[in-house]
Structures are given as C-alpha cells and as structure tokens.
C-alpha cells in the first residue's frame, strides 16, 4: 500500500474545527434518532454514528463551492459541510420548506448553494456523477474539487470501476472517498471483496490510493490535504479508503447479530468523538468551557432547525406536477 511522502499536519485551530464539524454531525444524528423514536419523523434512517471524522476532516479542507456527491448515509457529509439545518430538517420531515420541498427526503437531500449536489440511494452512483461535475470544473477552469462519498460495499459495483478509470484517464479533480466501515448492509467486507485493501484497486487506474485511519483526524487531514491539492492542481483523482466503524447498524432498527460483539465493543470504546475532545483539551487547543459552549450552541441550532422543520407545512399536491420538467405538467 502507498504511503504519503509528505503528511500535512492539522494545527490546533484545524483540529478544533474538525471537532466542531464532528460534533455538529453527532448532535444532529442524535436529535434525528430521538425524533424518530418519538414518532415525530418517519423515514428510513441510515446513521453514520462513529464515522464522523471522515467528512469532518474533508469538509474542513473544502471550500464552500467545492462539491460533493453522497449516498443514503450522507447526512453526515452535508452537516459536516455546514449545510444549514433548517431546510435539512424540513426535508427529512417531508415539508415544503425542505431543501427539496419534501420531494426528495433523506435519501435525496440536495443543497447546491453549498455544493451538496447529489444524494443517491443507488450504491455506486455517486461516483460517475461526481466525475461530470469535476469535468465541468475542469472546463470552467474553476479549480473546484468534487468529492464522491461511498461505502466499502460500493467498491464492488461496476460504476466504481468505470468512474475511477474515466476520472484517471481525464485527470479529473475528484476525491473518491470510501468509508470502509467493514460492512455492506449485513455482509462482512471480507466476504464480498476479494482484496484486503480497497486502496489497492487504485493502482489499476494509475491513480494514487491510500488506506487511511478514518477515525484519526491527523491521518484524514494529511491524506485529504494531499488529495485535494492534487485535484486542485490538475493532477487528477485520488482514492482514499477510510477505515471506520458504523455504530448503529445499516438502517435504524437493524440489530447487530451479524457483527462480532467484541469487535463492535472495541470500536465503540474507541469512539473518535470523545477521543478528539479529550485530545483538544489535553493539547491545549480548547478548554472544557469552550467545548461546552460549542456544544450548547450546536444543540440550540439543531433544536431550532428541528422546530422549524417539524412545524413547516406539508407540500401542496401540485408539487407532483412540478419539477418533473422545467415546465409544469398539465393538471
């Protein structure tokens, strides 16, 4: 496996910002789950609890107009990229103030204003479309980069292969970010994937590929920096396989019968969120009080978004005729 030659290191400010994004993701995830439990939301929900470092470190390094294509488990990728939470909550509640007017829901959240371009429910499909956005950026000469998020299971589908080959052949400014959480639904990584490290597949496209500790802010920062620099300078795509663990099963309600109990317990014990918090304090990058205040302000933002979303009215039935095409369909 490839090793980075020159690993950029996050300074204290960067680490605090990465932590802020992680906490925003985690607090929001917690609020969604609580709201689902109380029956005030109905939807299939794919929590990414435990995987927060990945989008937090990447989003810290992205510009506002850099773009992402993500998947059903991608709410974390949006929240880490500072998507405003009100339209997000209204959307997952299926309300008219939702970013998609309630028509897309959690699996199709979109917010182009901050580069959140596509959320797909089809495994593998974030990648080919990310290429197209990157091709446009290349044609524009805009220096934008595009991130395609996906899971380990998605590395076995045809779209992955076609997208990586084309991105490399065309030197597109894309980061292929694979959150390898060890499972595709209930299937173990090693049962579906004939290679020990997905990053090894990069060599088949003449592309750099790295296996990264996706729960480690330093490692994520270093690899994401290198990949973003490479993309921005026109050298082409990078594949990052980010090893992590999914604490809450595939979809909310899924129990963990298919997981090794000890492995799961160890993963949860090593929860990256409190670990980074402790480190920030230990290394003097933030105080207990500052982090408590951060948390309080995030929780207030989330509570406000939640109230906004749940109180937004449902969309009108006319919406079935709108946005099919640019022109409204006849009644």
């Amino acid at each position: 496996m490839a090793e980075l030659s020159n690993a950029a290191k996050p300074d204290g400010k960067a680490l605090v910002d990465i932590y802020r994004r992680m906490l925003r993701v985690e607090r929001n995830d917690d609020a969604i789950r609580a709201t689902l439990r109380r029956g005030r939301l109905q939807m299939p929900y794919y929590s990414a609890r435990g995987q927060e470092v990945i989008p937090a470190a990447i989003s810290h390094l992205l510009n506002r107009d850099d773009q992402i294509c993500t998947i059903y488990r991608g709410i974390q990728d949006m929240v880490a990229k500072d998507m405003p939470l009100k339209p997000l909550w209204a959307e997952i509640a299926g309300r008219v103030d939702g970013t998609c007017k309630g028509k897309g829901g959690p699996m199709h959240l979109t917010y182009p204003d901050m580069g959140i371009m596509v959320t797909t429910g089809i495994v593998g499909s974030s990648m080919p479309i990310a290429n197209g956005l990157a091709w446009a950026a290349q044609l524009d000469g805009s220096k934008k980069v595009v991130v395609a998020y996906f899971g380990d299971g998605a590395a076995n589908i045809g779209a992955f292969h076609e997208a990586l080959n084309m991105a490399a052949a065309w030197k597109l400014p894309v980061l292929f970010v694979c959150a390898n959480n060890g499972f595709a639904e209930h299937t173990r990584f090693e049962d579906g994937t004939a290679v020990d490290f997905i990053s090894k597949r990069a060599a088949g496209y003449g592309m750099p590929g790295y296996t990264v500790d996706g729960n480690d802010a330093d490692d994520m920062y270093a690899h994401a920096s290198a990949a973003i620099d490479r993309a921005r300078s026109g050298e082409g795509p990078t594949l990052l396989e980010c090893k992590t663990f999914r604490f809450l099963g595939h979809v909310l309600g899924d129990d963990d019968f298919y997981m090794d109990k000890a492995v799961k317990a160890a993963a949860m014990e090593a929860d990256p969120l409190p670990a980074l918090r402790a480190r920030l304090i230990a290394e003097g990058h933030a105080t207990e009080e500052e982090l408590a205040a951060l948390q309080a302000s995030l929780e207030a933002e989330i509570a406000e978004a939640q109230e906004f979303g749940l109180n937004s009215p449902p969309p009108s039935l006319d919406e079935l005729r709108r946005d099919v095409f640019a022109e409204e369909m006849p009644a």
Binding site: Q42, M43, P44, G94, R95, G98, C100, G102, K103, G104, G105, P106, M107, H108, T120, G121, I122, V123, G124, G153, A154, N156, I157, G158, A159, A184, E185, H186, T187, D191, G192, T193, F257, Y258, P314, P315, L317, E319, L320, R321, V324, M329
Partner: protein, 329 residues
C-alpha cells in the same frame, strides 16, 4: 381437508423456497444478504435456507448486480434453477443488460440450444417513504421484453404457488414482491403447490364493472370493495397474477359480461402496462363496451418522499370507488 396455515407474504415466500430447495437440489439462491449469517434477506424471506441447504447453494453476494445476474444466468444454462434476488426493483437498472439482452434472449438467439430457467425476485412499491429510487414498478418494461415472464402475487397463497411455478419454469421469470403484499396475512394450504403462470384469478365476482389489478394494488382494490358495494356497484375483481403472458381469456370474458373495465396498477399510467390491457380490450370487444376502459396508475412523476405526496401518488381505494361511480353514471 387440507390444513390451512395463517402466514404473511414473507413466510409464504420462505415456505416456497424451503419446498423448492428440498424437492430439487438444483435450486440455488443468490443475492445480497440472503445467507443466514447476513439475516436471510432484507425482509427475511430467505431465512433458514443457508442453514438448511448450505452456503454453497445459498450464496450471499457482493453488491454487484451484473455479476449476480451473470452468475445466475450461467448456472441456469448449466442446468441449475437459480433464484436471484435483486433487492429492489429500481436496482434492476444496474443489470438490465444481463436480464434483457441475455437472460431473455439466449434461448432464442441460440436457436433453443441453451435456456435460462432463472427466477429473479425483486421487491418494490411506494408507501414506505423510500422515495424516488426505491419504489418503482417496472413490470411494464419487462412485459415489453420478449423472452421473460412477469409475475406478481397479491396474497400469501398466490405468492407461494406462483414462486414455485417460476422456479419450475424452463424460462426466466421476474417475480415481483410488492411491499404491501409481504406483510398482509392470509391462509395458505399446508400442501400449497405451484399455481400455473398465465392464469388470472377472479377474486370477487361481479356484474357491473371489471377491475383488473395485480400485486399491492389488488389489496387496495379489495379495500375499495366495501365502498363500491355501498355505492351499489357490483365489481368483478381480477388479480392478473401473471402480467406477461397475461390471461386475456379471463379478462375478456369478464369484460364481455360487465361491459365496463378498469385497470389499476401502481406503475406510472403513461405508457404503462395498463395500456396494453386497455388496448386489447378495445380491440377484442369493440362496440360491446358501455364505457371507455379506464386506466388508474401513478401520475407522471418520480415517487415523492413526503407522505401527503406519496399518498396522492398511489391510486387509493377512494380513487377506485370514484372511478367506478363515474363509469356507472
């Protein structure tokens, strides 16, 4: 008297699989998460199979629908009877080549030298707020494809019997599991065997209007029966069960009697499967109809997420009653 067992669609499908795998060692299962270590399928329809018949015959696969279908096609050509799961019908779009250009055509293109006795099981249906990419009914596409049979049951007994027939069939069949039909309970004879493909069932006899439907929409048609009765309408409800080849005789005989026909499906109305049935009725019963054939299907838009929109997207029992009332007027 045969013992009747109360079960839901999931259990019925499971019972069919158990029976088929027991009876014929050539029956195989493959798909994502179908093994017991992975939970026996997302809805549990495959539970117990890998434990009972071994992980060689029941294989959990990578997320590789083209490879799943390819493996199933090849094994079928070699004399096995694979039952391949494509988890949701929308995911057939990633393996349409394997289904349409290969499974459906190999017998013909080889002049009958090879055959593909394959069953594709796939789940779908709006009503679960899974939105635009997890709810589509594409039966019309497959019905428009020569060389593949399209099957969809609406109740546990039919699900079991039809699945057994798909597995037995010497040609590729796509067996559609409408989400609602998996959870609706029903009575299944302990010895329920294969139900012939291509044969519809008159669910309720009637004299005023023929309603043709399948899969989950049969359940909504049944919910409409009381409203129809209250409106004084005697509806004959036909569950098509096989969409291709469909039971023209049964439908035409009924419409010849009632003079009025309505087709109710979950798929988008435009260019949908209902059009074929409507066109055929018009061809065969020209001049004998009291009213134009009505087609109730989804509006021309993707399946929306918001509950209010999703409810409006699906043809509801009240829509069926209203349409019948209008036809009687």
């Amino acid at each position: 008297m045969t013992e009747m067992i109360k079960m839901n669609g999931i259990q019925a499908i499971n019972a069919a699989m158990m029976q088929a795998m027991e009876a014929d060692p050539k029956v195989l299962v493959l798909g994502e998460d179908v093994g017991d270590r992975e939970g026996g399928g997302v809805t549990g329809t495959m539970k117990g199979l890998s434990t009972k018949f071994g992980t060689e015959r029941v294989k959990s696969t990578p997320i590789s629908e083209q490879a799943i279908m390819g493996a199933a096609i090849g094994a079928a050509m070699a004399g096995y009877k694979p039952v391949a799961e494509i988890m949701m019908m929308n995911f057939t779009t990633v393996c349409m080549d394997m289904i349409v250009n290969h499974a459906a055509k190999l017998r013909f293109m080889s002049g009958g030298q090879t055959s593909v006795p394959l069953t594709i099981r796939t789940l779908t249906g709006a009503g679960w707020q899974t939105a635009g990419q997890h709810s589509d009914f594409f039966e019309g596409w497959f019905a428009h494809t020569a060389g593949i049979k399209v099957v969809a049951g609406s109740n546990p007994a039919d699900l079991k019997g039809l699945l057994l027939s798909c597995i037995d069939d010497p040609d590729p069949c796509i067996f559609i599991e409408g989400g609602m039909t998996l959870f609706a309970p029903g009575e299944v004879a302990a010895d329920q065997g294969p139900i012939p493909l291509g044969k519809a069932k008159v669910v309720v006899p009637g004299t005023d209007v023929t309603i043709v439907s399948w899969s989950a929409q049969v359940l909504r048609c049944q919910m409409a029966l009381q409203g129809l009765a209250e409106a004084g309408i005697s509806a004959e409800l036909i569950d098509l069960r096989t969409i291709s080849p469909w039971d023209r005789e049964c439908v035409l005989e009924s419409v010849a009697k009632t003079g009025r026909a309505m087709i109710v499906h979950e798929a988008v109305r435009s260019f949908g499967p209902g059009a074929e049935i409507a066109a055929t009725i018009n061809e065969e019963l020209f001049g004998q109809l009291k009213k134009p054939v009505k087609r109730l299907g989804a509006p021309e838009c993707p399946v929306p997420f918001a509950k209010v929109l999703e409810d409006a997207y699906i043809v509801q029992p009240a829509d069926i009653v209203a349409a019948a009332v209008e036809m009687m007027g």
